[in-house]
């Protein structure tokens, strides 16, 4: 690919994904530009989490095309995909209970230069420093979420896949997370958010993909959001 640098950070074409016998994604197409914040909206079970897992290679079987910065990853093992510079924050947060807070923080491999240092992260999340020798799951839900975010910021990953990071958290913490995403965006991170909390997503994202029954049903740019409320309510069933 001599010197050709695609501006798309993530480009998915015709993605199908399966868990054992169930066929979850039926041909998903989406692109995310460098520095963009994009959300995946949809009902529970529409396949949003599966899209993120498919990008990481964490589904049983997947085909189609997923390019990260122009590199085809559909045949790659998960650890190699991660090393292309992706930070993944799973829905259940994935804090390891057998590891201390600091061990959790240091677990993900540094994949690119330019990640935040541990002191920087402790500055950003002082609670984590205070509790760095506690076991990971002793933290409160909000602290666990901060830890899940902090540990992928250390790796230098520039593409962040964040699955339901506000789920079950107090409004004040959701607000902090919103500020954090805003900061990350201004630092040039590319972010794909799976969100249930539409109001949280609306303020942050450049574009919204609506996922329905394993396909992309709609694409709503930020400025069309107000005029699409009715349509969205129909998709989300709220």
């Amino acid at each position: 690919m001599s010197g050709f640098e695609p501006k798309e950070m993530l480009c998915i074409k015709g993605l199908q994904a399966f868990y054992e016998e169930s066929h979850i994604l039926h041909g998903v197409d989406l692109t995310v530009g460098e520095g963009e914040v994009v959300t995946l909206l949809g009902r529970n079970g529409s396949g949003r989490t599966t899209i993120l897992k498919s990008i990481m290679g964490l589904v049983g079987r997947r085909n189609g095309s997923i390019q990260i910065h122009g590199v085809e990853t559909i045949g790659m093992p998960t650890h190699k995909i991660a090393r292309l510079g992706i930070g993944y924050c799973p829905e259940e947060r994935g804090i390891f209970s057998n590891l201390t807070v600091e061990e959790n923080l240091l677990l993900p491999l540094v994949v690119k230069d330019g990640g935040m240092s541990v002191p920087e992260l402790y500055d950003m999340f002082p609670n984590l420093q205070e509790r760095r020798f506690s076991m990971g799951t002793r933290l409160s839900g909000g602290e666990q979420q901060m830890l899940a975010m902090a540990r992928i910021l250390r790796t230098g990953a520039k593409l962040l896949l964040l699955d339901e990071i506000t789920e079950g958290l107090a409004p004040v913490i959701v607000q902090t997370l919103g500020q954090l995403i805003g900061q990350l965006k201004s630092r040039g991170f590319t972010i794909v958010l799976v969100e249930q909390n539409f109001h949280f997503a609306a303020d942050l994202a450049d574009r919204h993909y609506v996922v329905d029954r394993g396909v992309i049903a709609d694409l709503i740019p930020r400025d069309a959001l107000a005029s699409s409320t009715e349509k969205l309510n129909q998709y989300l069933g709220v």
């Binding site: 093992p77 650890h79 090393r83 993944y88 390891f96 209970s97 057998n98 061990e103 677990l107 993900p108």
Partner: protein, 301 residues
Amino acid sequence: MELSFQTVLSQVMLGLNNGVFYAILSLGLAVIFGLLNIVNFVHGALYMLGAYVALLGYTMLGPLLGKPDFHLNYWVALIVAPLVVGLLGIGVERTMLRRLRKFDHLYGLLLTFGLALIIQGVFTNYFNVSGDAYDGKPESLEGAVNLGFMLFPKYRLWVIGISLLVCFATWFVIERTKLGSYLRAGTENPELVKAFGVNVPLMITLTYGYGAALAAFAGVLAAPIYSVSPVMGSEMIITVFAVVVIGGMGSIMGSIITGLLLGMVEGFTKVVYAPASSTVIFLIMVVVLLVKPTGLFGKES
């Protein structure tokens, strides 16, 4: 019956000597179970193979190479046997166990049990079932040391010392180092560890190799004490499985402590009522299973 403190103490010391074998073998089982989620039934056979690498290296390697005076040195065997058996373990994981990862753990158990029977069967065919003595014990470990309450064989003291060192070093690496944090995380959620850029399949292979190497190491340590026979592994492994059940599957420190304690309990029983010494561990297992089915150090799941 009058129990002199001295008799008790000396039997407990001898029991501790058995205990370190239980500890080192159940430790290997715990490490393998943690990451691979299989009960490694071939563990006893790997222990036996370790002893045979030492024995055959001593007796047959020289003639085979056309140098009848060559004997594989004990210290060299202590390094070579774990390497050979560790590599064998890596081969087994890569070619067989890996294919079973996505199925129920029962298949891994059956596969390793089958392997154990095959290895033991082949060795029974070619070697003396009643055992061969290993004559390679180094001269520096001949003789006995006066412990104050008894004269204890120097070699056995060495075995206790080095086994404790290996066990606690393994514990330290797993529980206190960065490398160990990958292992612990991999035990808990291997998929997510992959998503953090760690080559988990490689880690699994090396862990199995290390477990196999530990078993072989114990085998070489055992060679000068017990006779080397094709069935030494299967005899040992039955007790070790009881130890694992008592300690609780998957706990690293638990498997070490339980191994040591049960060895000593066995030794103590020899003084009190000798005929029960070979069954006492199984009695304890029954009681533990009734009272705390997850084992003494096991976590409720």
